[in-house]
C-alpha cells in the first residue's frame, strides 16, 4: 500500500482530484453557469439524451396502448364527464366575463398584457438521485435560455432554470425546498410564498407559507405568481389550495398547494426568456414578507 502513495499513479489521481476540487470551488462562485467540463460533457451528451428520450417515449407510448387499455378507457370516460362540466363552467365564465368587462369599463381600468417571449423545450433527462424531480431540457444559452428563466406549461408554473449550458439547461421545480416563489391568492389577493416541502413533495404538492392569520384564503383557491420578485411574470397559475392550517409555531398560516402541473411526469415545457418586469427589484415582495413577519412578531408579543 505504501508504494502506491509514492507512485506516479497516486500523483496523477491526486492531481485530478485537486483539479475537480478547483472546479467545485469555481461552481460555488459562478452559480447558474456551467463549468467548462460541464459545457463539454453536456454538449456531447445532450443530443444523445435527446435521442434516447424521444426513442424511449415512442416505445413507452406504444407499450402503454396495450398495458393501459382499461385505464385509458376509464380516463376517457372521466374526461367526457369533465368536458360536460367544463361546458357548464364555460357558460358561467361567459356571463362573468361580460359582467367583468362592464365593470372594467365603468372603472376605466386599462388591463396590461405583459409581453412574454417563450420557447418550447423537451425534457431529455432526469437525475435519479434528485429528490424533487428536477430535470434537464434540450435548450440552452445558444437558444436564448438564461439562468433563472421561468419554466411553465399551458397548465401553469413548473420551476426555474437553475443552471444553463450551451445546449442544455437544468430546471429546479417548485417542489424543491430550495425554491421560493412569491405568490398571490387570486380571490383574496393575499401575497405569500410558495416553496417545496420534503413531506409534501412525495405527493407532488408544495407549501404556501407566510399567510397572515386574518387572511381569507380557503380550500379551492387558485394561487398564481405575484410577479413581485422580478423572477416570474405576474399571473402564472401555480396550483390550487388543498388545505389551510396554522403553523405549528407562530401565528401565521400555511396552505398545501396542489400544482396544476403533474411535475413528476412532465415531458414538454415552455421557457419564458423575456417578460415585462424581468429582473426588477424585490422591494414589493420583501415589503410583503416583512409585513407578514412583523404581523407575526406583533401577534407573538400580544400573546
Amino acid at each position: 500500500m505504501k508504494e502506491f502513495f509514492h507512485s506516479w499513479v497516486f500523483k496523477v489521481l491526486l492531481a485530478l482530484a485537486i483539479i475537480m476540487f478547483a472546479f467545485m470551488l469555481r461552481a460555488t462562485v459562478t452559480v447558474g453557469a456551467s463549468t467548462v467540463i460541464e459545457k463539454i460533457v453536456g454538449t456531447v451528451t445532450a443530443p444523445i439524451q435527446s435521442l434516447g428520450a424521444s426513442m424511449s417515449s415512442s416505445v413507452t407510448g406504444f407499450l402503454d396502448r396495450f398495458f393501459r387499455a382499461e385505464e385509458i378507457a376509464e380516463e376517457n370516460e372521466q374526461l367526457r364527464e369533465e368536458n360536460r362540466q367544463l361546458i357548464e363552467q364555460m357558460v358561467d365564465y361567459e356571463n362573468y366575463k361580460h359582467e367583468n368587462e362592464s365593470l372594467k369599463e365603468q372603472l376605466g381600468i386599462q388591463e396590461e398584457h405583459p409581453e412574454w417571449e417563450t420557447m418550447t423545450a423537451s425534457v431529455i433527462g432526469r437525475d435519479p438521485s434528485d429528490q424533487f424531480y428536477s430535470f434537464t431540457i434540450d435548450k440552452g444559452t445558444l437558444d436564448g435560455v438564461s439562468y433563472q428563466d421561468p419554466v411553465i406549461t399551458s397548465d401553469g408554473l413548473v420551476g426555474i432554470v437553475s443552471e444553463v449550458g450551451p445546449v442544455f439547461a437544468k430546471v429546479t421545480t417548485i417542489l424543491d425546498v430550495r425554491l421560493n416563489v412569491a405568490c398571490q391568492d387570486v380571490r383574496t389577493q393575499d401575497v405569500a410564498t410558495v416553496s417545496g416541502d420534503i413531506a409534501l413533495a412525495e405527493n407532488g404538492q408544495c407549501r404556501m407559507s407566510l399567510i397572515p392569520r386574518e387572511s381569507g384564503v380557503a380550500k379551492g383557491d387558485i394561487i398564481q405568481t405575484a410577479g413581485t420578485s422580478g423572477l416570474y411574470p405576474q399571473g402564472i397559475v401555480i396550483g390550487r389550495i388543498q388545505e389551510v392550517a396554522f403553523e405549528p409555531q407562530g401565528t401565521m398560516m400555511y396552505a398545501v398547494i396542489e400544482p396544476t402541473n403533474d411535475i413528476k411526469n412532465i415531458k414538454d415545457v415552455m421557457v419564458i426568456t423575456s417578460f415585462k418586469g424581468q429582473g426588477s427589484s424585490l422591494s414589493s415582495f420583501e415589503n410583503a414578507s416583512d409585513n407578514a413577519q412583523t404581523q407575526e412578531e406583533n401577534a407573538d408579543d400580544a400573546e
Binding site: M1, F4, V9, V12, L13, L16, A17, M20, F21, F23, M24, A27, T28, S34, T35, I37, E38, V41, G42, T45, I48, Q49, G52, A53, S56, S57, V59, T60, V123, I124, G125, R126, D127, P128, S129, D130, Q131, Y133, S134, F135, T136, S162, E163, K170, T172, D176, V177, D197, I198, A199, E202, K264, K267
Partner: protein, 174 residues
Amino acid sequence: MNRRTKIAAVKYIVYSLIMLFLYVLQTDPNFFYIDYIKPVLVLPFAVCIAMFESQLVGGLFGLFAGVLCDVSSTVLFGFQSILYLCICTAVGLLVVYLMQPSMINSLLAVGLGFGARLLLEYFFYYVMWGYDNSHLILLDKMLPLLIYTLVVTPFLFLAVRKMHRFFEEKMAEN
C-alpha cells in the same frame, strides 16, 4: 502501437461507450422507474471496472462516472466526481491488497460507496440547513435508490467480468 495496446485501447473505448449508454438510460425520463425511483447505473459500472482493472483505470472511470452524474444533477459540480474518483480508486486498491473481485464484494463496495455519497448529500444539503422532515429524504428517497442501485449491480458486475475476460483472452492470444 502493438496489438496488445490496440486491444487495451478498444477495451477502454468499449467501456466508455457503455458508460455513456448507461448514463442515457440512467437519466432517461421514461424507463426503469419504480414509484419514481430510478437506479444509478454509472457508479456500479465504474466500481466493477475498478475491481477488474488497475486502480488508475478504476479511478479514471470513477471520475468519468462522477462528471456524468454532476452534469445531470443539481448538486454542486465536482461533488460526485471527486467522491466517485476516491471510491473507485479505493476499490481498485482493495482488490490489489485485500479482496477478490466477486459479486458479493461488488455489492459491498457499491453499497458502502454509494451509501456514503448519499449520506454526505443528506448531511450537506438537508441536515445542515435544518429543513423540516429531512429524515423522509433519507428513508423515502435515498434508501430505495440505494436498494434499487444494489439490485442492478450484479448484472453490471457480470457484464464487466465477461468483457474483461473476453479482452484478456484476446490479449493472451497475442
